[in-house]
């Protein structure tokens, strides 16, 4: 069922983790574990508010404990529809924090040792020996098992309850097959035994509560069998074969059709008081299945109580904690509410004000409005604010910091993270690396190719010529491929640019004739073919860079998007730059997602598997938006790719690189 579960500090140290399959434990140890991907792709990029993250067939869900800076993560196979994972995370969180609060606080303090107080706690030589993590969390394994078991049992019971309403046949076919109640093989055999016992106790309790006190009928038995799952199977099976040898002849193992009578004989799900055999079997097996030692006690009202599980010395109260966690999560806000406004002021003054969801709501709403005023797309501003909220709930705000200031600070951090590129934006270096990379003797050096894509009228050709100017200044020979074979005047426009660039010269000295050329094949031709010819021409004529200009297209126009994907898959350019205008608002999200997806989907025809997506963005018309630069945030959030250039005017030199700090301050300014 589950593959991996992990509890770790935001700084990266893992406090406790368990893998449920060998494959998962191997994967978890490597740097490519789904959890590492979750952190890199989702949490660091400000997507913490999303519900789950999927990677390599795994689905990952997580939850934060912000005051202790812990993250709880559960990873499982994506195809499974596990309904209880969120409950599991929520109860894990509550129980873990409750059980180990003092240790965790010391631990977190040791990772924030900036002031003397913390030095004192970590300093003493006696303290050093007490960092025994295995000992600190002993007993947690059992608690975890019990918790997991309980939730799985609940989920299974839920499912059964739903199935019970449909005709009997469905139950019959379902209950023997419900072995997915069972956890995946756990690592130690004694753990398996524990689970078995827990399951028995749970089952016994259920039966009692159902009002079937006294003797257990055949029904209770059969349910216990199916409920305790795989581990108990061999056990009970051998039991029954021993006890009823004569019956064995009747068993049919072939996969043929099941007759009504077979079904009836296999049906243990209802009471059959007449069936003495079943009755016998039941009484015989009761002893085998209910361990005397772990039998619960009976209260005065006749209520059967499951014996407290033996967790080891320090966790005797774990059961109470678990049940409290499971049904009383809503009490938490109530306790803080009882302090009243005065208490909250006092708490703030003493620097222990804990941010609650209610505190954050109005501030986050205001921040969202603010972002939208700065032209950030609506969806994006919602997600960013949710992510910020997620990282602040439960956090203590110190001293005189208002909620507003805390949110502002967190938002600024989050936006900085999103805008900071995660891949190198050094175009010159990657061009030089490609041009100087060693080649085999038969290969001919291909020029570095950059494709410009985007919707109509955003300035693809204009900014292509600016990039071209910059490349020429750096001493490259550039070929421009006119692959916009649709819009009239597109080729002529590029021709004018090439003529101008040829006359401008390099570094102010002399003209740069021969440094730039236009490759054109007129209108109405296949753009992919022209680009291919252009790259071949560039290779033969010793050009360093080929800039491919494509026709603008709307993201919804599938034939045109397919044509673009074909161009990409045929020529496999080194960089695909998406050109978007800074004026765009909500549309930015749609444009980018659809361009990215279309490129990935349609260009993945080959055996390579995943197609190419957008590698970077060029934001144009930046000079027209003043400080409403939200489009930059929307674009980087959607793709996760960096903004390589910013177009800021009409001349060839009006090309800039993005400074993250500037954009952040522009977005946050009032």
């Amino acid at each position: 069922m589950l593959d991996h579960c992990s509890i770790f500090h935001k700084g990266g140290l893992v406090l406790w983790s368990r893998s449920f399959t060998p494959a998962a434990s191997q994967l978890a140890a490597s740097s490519a574990s789904p959890i590492n991907w979750l952190i890199r792709d989702a949490l660091i990029e400000g997507r913490a508010a999303e519900e789950k993250y999927e990677k390599d067939g795994y689905a990952v869900k997580w939850t934060f404990v912000n005051d202790l800076e812990l993250i709880f993560v559960v990873a499982y196979q994506r195809i499974l529809q596990l309904t209880y994972v969120e409950d599991l995370l929520a109860s894990l969180k509550t129980v873990f924090v409750k059980l180990f609060q003092p240790f965790l606080t010391t631990f977190v303090a040791s990772l924030h040792a900036v002031n003397n107080r913390a030095v004192g706690t970590v300093n003493g030589s006696a303290e050093l020996t007490t960092w025994n993590f295995a000992k600190a969390f002993e007993g947690w394994d059992t608690v975890f098992d019990q918790l997991l078991k309980r939730l799985e049992g609940e989920a299974a019971a839920d499912r059964k309850a739903r199935l019970r309403s449909v005709p009997r046949i469905a139950i019959d076919s379902e209950s023997p097959g419900s072995s997915d109640v069972d956890t995946a093989p756990t690592e130690s055999p004694n753990m398996a035994q524990d689970e078995q016992q827990i399951a028995r106790n749970v089952q016994a309790l259920k039966n009692r509560l159902r009002g079937r006190g006294g003797r257990r009928g055949g029904r209770g038995m059969a349910r216990t069998d199916s409920g305790s799952g795989r581990e108990s199977y061999p056990n009970s099976d051998s039991d029954s074969t021993l006890k009823k040898k004569p019956k064995k002849v009747q068993r049919k193992w072939e996969n043929g059709s099941i007759t009504e009578s077979d079904m009836a004989s296999l049906d243990y799900s209802s009471d059959k008081p007449n069936d003495t055999d079943a009755q016998n079997r039941g009484s015989l097996n009761v002893n085998a299945l209910v361990d005397e030692a772990s039998l619960g006690t009976r209260t005065k009202d006749g209520l059967y109580e499951v014996k407290d599980w033996d967790f080891g010395k320090n966790t005797g109260d774990a059961d109470a904690v678990i049940s409290e966690a499971l049904n009383a999560t809503s009490k938490v806000p109530a306790t803080s509410g009882s302090m009243g406004a005065l208490g909250s002021i006092f708490a703030r003054l003493t620097g222990s004000k804990v941010l609650s969801e209610d505190d954050l709501k109005p501030v986050l709403e205001a921040m969202k409005q603010h972002l939208m005023k700065k032209n950030v797309a609506k969806d994006i501003s919602e997600k960013v604010c949710e992510g910020v909220g997620e990282s602040l709930v439960g956090k203590k705000v110190g001293g005189f910091q208002t909620t507003n200031a805390a949110v502002r600070q967190a938002l600024s951090n989050s936006i900085t993270r999103i805008l900071t590129p995660k891949t190198s934006t050094d175009l010159l270096l990657s061009i030089r690396t490609k041009l100087s990379s060693p080649l085999s003797s038969t290969q001919q050096r291909l020029p570095y190719s950059i494709t410009f894509v985007g919707v109509n009228g955003v300035g693809k050709s204009t900014n292509l010529s600016k990039v071209c100017f910059w490349l020429i200044q750096n001493g490259f020979r550039v070929l421009i491929a006119a692959c916009d074979t649709f819009r009239s005047g597109a080729v002529e426009q590029l021709r004018v640019h090439v003529r101008n660039l040829g006359m401008l010269g390099m570094n102010g000295a002399g003209d740069s004739k021969g440094r730039v050329e236009l490759y054109e094949r007129g209108y109405g031709k296949d753009a992919a073919g022209i680009a291919k010819e252009a790259i071949a021409y560039g290779r033969d004529n010793d050009f360093d860079v080929v800039l491919i200009d494509t026709a603008g297209r709307m993201q919804d126009n599938e034939p045109l998007m397919r044509a673009l994907a074909k161009l990409v898959s045929v020529n496999n350019p080194d960089k695909i730059l998406f050109v978007g205008e800074a004026l765009v608002g909500n549309e930015a999200v749609d444009q980018l997602t659809k361009f990215d997806r279309a490129l990935r989907d349609f260009s993945s025809s080959g055996a390579v598997g995943k197609g190419r997506g957008i590698d970077g963005m060029l934001v144009t018309k930046w000079d027209t938006v003043d400080d409403k630069v939200g489009a930059a945030l929307s674009m980087t959030y959607v793709t996760g790719q960096p903004i390589v250039f910013v177009g800021t005017g009409q001349t060839y030199t009006d090309l800039r690189q993005l400074r993250v700090a500037n954009v952040v301050s522009a977005i946050l300014s009032d």
Partner: protein, 282 residues
């Protein structure tokens, strides 16, 4: 259970305060002044130190693992870090240093700059077993670090720079070099790869016409700087000739889940050399 316990505790406090608003104001003023005083005192105290050891480097290099080995005397398993870890380590001679582990993810590695001004040493951790594959990315990160160190104000004593060839135990040693110490092998490999990649960056950026930063006022020096060398090799990048100061190398390895005992095993030296290096820092 929790509610009845809290309520009686909270009630007397609020009722007592509500009864006399003057007391409340006076008390809050007093607390406020006290808090200001304490925070100022702490800030001054922490700033005057400047004995921070920074752990930087690409993600998955093992920064957090080294930190946990040093601080907790055992190597905890770790995931990619989301935030900076700061811990205090007591050295054998009873001096304390603050260890700061800056996450290596490109989006958050710039936090380095917040800590650099009071750094005594910068330790750049490199995964020796993968450096030949992702040398370019590692070099880009190291370049940023070098650039940050060289652009510190001249009055500031530059921090010592140590490049840690980590995970030397994972390095596949060929039959021929089996005799060689894995640590030394790791150091050599890291040094060669990084020098090659940094030289590439230096060549590409020397004489290149950069693009102006948006709204840059010229006070920010160009990104390309920080790789200047002077020496017999004619300006090409060598760690030995780097202008920013001396660069040292060490090879280390840790094993997850292992406790560091006083007597090291014979196989790898683990991080004992690193501890020694930290001891010897002025």
């Amino acid at each position: 259970m929790a509610e009845p316990e809290v309520a009686p505790e909270a009630l007397p406090v609020s009722s007592a305060l509500a009864a006399s608003p003057q007391v409340l104001i006076a008390a809050s003023l007093f607390v406020a002044l006290l808090a200001i005083a304490i925070s100022l005192w702490l800030r001054r105290k922490s700033q005057s130190r400047g004995n921070t050891i920074l752990f930087v480097g690409p993600p998955d290099a093992g920064k957090t693992a080294v930190l946990s080995t040093l601080v907790y005397r055992q190597t905890l398993p770790s995931h990619t870090s989301l935030q900076t870890n700061t811990s205090v380590l007591t050295l054998l001679n009873n001096k304390t240093v603050t260890l700061v582990d800056v996450p290596g993810h490109p989006r958050i590695r710039d936090q380095l700059l917040d800590h650099l001004s009071d750094a005594k040493a910068v330790i750049f951790v490199v995964d020796a077993s993968t450096v030949s594959r992702n040398g370019a990315a590692v070099a880009e990160h190291l370049h940023k670090v070098l650039h940050a160190i060289t652009s510190l104000p001249p009055s500031h004593t530059p921090p010592a720079l140590l490049i840690l060839a980590h995970k030397s135990d994972l390095l596949k040693t060929g039959a021929a070099s089996a005799a060689a110490v894995p640590d030394q092998l790791a150091i050599n490999r890291v040094r060669t790869v990084l020098e090659r990649e940094l030289e590439k960056r230096r060549v590409s950026q020397s004489g290149a016409v950069g693009i102006e930063g948006l709204g840059a006022d010229g006070e920010e020096s160009s990104e390309g700087a920080g790789l200047e060398c002077n020496g017999p090799s004619g300006g090409s990048f060598k760690f030995a000739e780097w202008e920013g100061g001396e660069v040292e190398f060490l090879g280390t390895s840790v094993a997850v889940g292992e406790k560091v005992s006083a007597e090291e095993k014979s196989g790898g030296k683990g991080i004992s050399e690193l501890s020694q290096w930290l001891e010897e820092l002025p």
